[in-house]
């Protein structure tokens, strides 16, 4: 009964000091969110699941 979240416009965001990826910005089930690259975060886990399943691609940061 758990349906996959609808995720669109996924794109990495950078840490301004290190220049490394620090978050994923996307529209998640209709909400505009910035998801930290943090284990345990529910949205990050779902993003990783969809990337592994091949149903989601994350664009590089600008």
């Amino acid at each position: 009964m758990f349906t996959p979240a609808t995720i669109t416009n996924a794109k990495y965001g950078l840490d301004p000091i290190t220049g490394e990826n620090t978050c994923i910005n996307c529209v998640f089930d209709g909400s505009h969110v910035s998801v930290p690259l943090a284990a345990g975060n529910t949205e990050y886990a779902e993003i990783l699941r969809q990337v592994a399943a091949g149903t989601l691609t994350i664009k590089d940061a600008d």
Binding site: M1, P16, T18, T22, N25, S34, P36, A38, T42
Partner: protein, 363 residues
């Protein structure tokens, strides 16, 4: 106090919170919005709506309530366009979820597993059989129960008692370990021949009863409030809490700032370059995990106030995983080429009383 109010030995509760459900009276609604698709509604209550092609719904906090029972609010599902026929994969339900470390005292997986009693007030547009599903996530186990609405569009009080699950398992961590579902409508993918009591969950048999009413099949309003889940075999009076107590419990999973004034202040931080301003939000309670940041999605709703100038943001604020955890959120605000490095800067709403920043760590 009458002796009948005293609970039998062994049916007590831990640390004063008898009700395992957070916000069962639907008093806290930080989002304060109309939800029309899958997502959280009033705090701690989620709606799932999947694969419908006609159904139109609107979920809100409402003031309709069972008069004389101390409730001021309810969770309202308005069905404004019905689904003419339910396809196999269509599903509509409410749920609320329980964090594993908060329910260790249920002793699931042991011979001491505790019975639970669910009580709630409900007003349904359809009389007849309705489902409630208790679900454990690891491993997937379920216990499907029913309640009957006697009169449509009338507040009714329902109680359901289930045995403890001696074969269950509740991980002692911050993950969702028990779910409580109110299935409202569903196709044949979600009902069949369910097992009785606790047992291994099979989606095609155990989520809901096949002969329950179909709440997606007509327009009308479904209301829910006074949800209480407690240890024991009897329902006690609803445990009313003051607003602040319930709000603090909810903020472990969702915390929202702004949305009320044109130049609401969110963070005070430092500009580390001409483009970026970093600010830290100390979260009001420790969140379940490092939170996701939710915004309006419109960059111009946000600005950085630096050196007496309001600089409109060129992108919505971002969360920086570096420097963020359960207690603190580190936000990055961007206004390209506008800052002097080293200056202080405040992230504010940009003349928008509807702009907000929310911190989300839902189960």
């Amino acid at each position: 106090m009458a002796l009948t109010k005293l609970r039998p030995a062994g049916q007590g509760f831990v640390n004063g919170s008898r009700n395992l459900v957070i916000n069962g009276a639907m008093t806290v609604d930080q989002r304060n919005q109309t939800t029309t698709a899958t997502g959280y509604t009033v705090d701690r209550f989620n709606i799932a709506k999947s694969n419908f092609d006609e159904l139109v719904i609107a979920i809100t906090q409402d003031t309709d309530n069972p008069s004389g029972n101390g409730f001021a609010h309810s969770l309202k599902l308005a069905i404004t366009t019905a689904e003419s026929a339910i396809a196999a994969d269509e599903l509509l339900y409410f749920d609320t979820r329980f964090e594993g470390q908060n329910i260790q005292h249920l002793c699931y997986g042991t011979s001491s597993a505790k019975s639970l009693t669910l009580s709630f007030w409900v007003k349904s547009p359809l009389a007849g059989k309705h489902s409630v599903t208790f679900y454990q996530s690891t491993p997937a186990r379920s216990n499907l129960q029913s309640y009957t609405i006697s009169s449509a569009n009338t507040w009714e009080y329902k109680t359901i008692t289930i045995d403890g699950d001696t074969s269950g398992n509740i991980a002692n961590d911050n993950s969702p370990e028990i779910y409580l579902f109110w299935p409202l409508a569903g196709g044949s993918d979600f009902h069949g021949t369910p097992h009785t009591g606790w047992g291994a969950y099979t989606a095609t048999d155990d989520f809901m009863f096949s002969d329950q009413v179909n709440l997606a099949g007509q327009t009308g309003n479904f209301f829910l409030t006074g949800v209480q889940l407690e240890i024991g075999e009897n329902a006690s009076d609803f445990e009313h809490e003051n607003y602040g107590t319930t709000l603090a419990k909810c903020q472990r999973y969702y915390f929202r700032m702004g949305g009320s004034s044109a130049y609401a202040r969110y963070t005070l931080g430092q500009c580390d370059s001409a483009n970026n301003c970093n600010g830290v939000v100390e979260l009001p309670v420790q969140m379940r995990d490092t939170p996701t940041i939710e915004t309006t999605g419109t960059a111009s709703n946000y600005a950085v106030y630096e050196a007496g100038i309001v600089h409109t943001c060129s992108s919505v604020p971002l969360v920086n995983a570096l420097g963020s955890d359960k207690n603190v959120a580190n936000l990055i605000s961007v206004s390209t080429g506008n800052f002097a490095a080293g200056n202080a800067g405040e992230l504010i709403s940009n003349n928008s009383a509807s702009a907000y920043i929310a911190f989300k760590s839902e189960l």
